[in-house]
Symmetry: C2
Subunit: 115 residues, 2 copies
Amino acid sequence: MKKPADLDAIFAALADPTRRQILMMLLEDDMAVTDVAAPFEMSLAAISKHLAVLAEAGLISQERRGRVKWCKLEPDAMRAASVWIQGFGLFDPLDLDAFELFLRSELPETLPESD
Amino acid sequence: MKKPADLDAIFAALADPTRRQILMMLLEDDMAVTDVAAPFEMSLAAISKHLAVLAEAGLISQERRGRVKWCKLEPDAMRAASVWIQGFGLFDPLDLDAFELFLRSELPETLPESD
DNA sequence: TCGATATTCAACCGCATGGTTGAACATGCA
DNA sequence: TGCATGTTCAACCATGCGGTTGAATATCGA
């Protein structure tokens, strides 16, 4: 059950550069804890704690298979943060245009023709 | 010059519910420090510190006019965070629909009729 | 069973954070 | 000038965070 935590935990988790980098690594593929830790110059235990923070925030899930604990990106929690920010409606026309283009190119069939 | 700070500071600033509430208040209008503090059950000094954190992150700017220090929302920093999150490209069709509706209702004149 | 591998636990450290209080500093007004 | 208003400063406190190290736990493979 990967319920997204509250915004406090999500934003706090995103506030650390190591954790953001971990999330980007997980964007490519699921990873074991040891492999996540490999590129960093800190102890495995430290990375393990970072992963716990990310899991607590709902940003990743962890599934143990044998000795290995696999870490998987969970987009829902991040979406909650994104939605909060977008609630500010602070896009200006330029950005809106770009985003509109992104939307159309990405998922054209979900956009209504016009009103 | 209100340069947006790095993501560390921005996300950390957003991780506190008091600060998020302040940002939402500033969405409606610029406010003086005392008026920002009014709805909260904590000391003025505490709010002043929160505002300093928000300003340090570039999320607001503060301009002193006379005795009064006016606080103003600065969307650029928040956009930086939004862009980082959106870099994950994790929108699914359902949410996209909702977001499209939000866009159309919020800023109808900036959306092209259709291609 | 034994050793190697994968991960966490527990205790500790230094430092930042979020809050308090009371005093200090500026500015506006009579 | 003198007082009230608006805001911050400084010191302090409790708590949490990011990191370390060394030991503990669990699983795999020979």
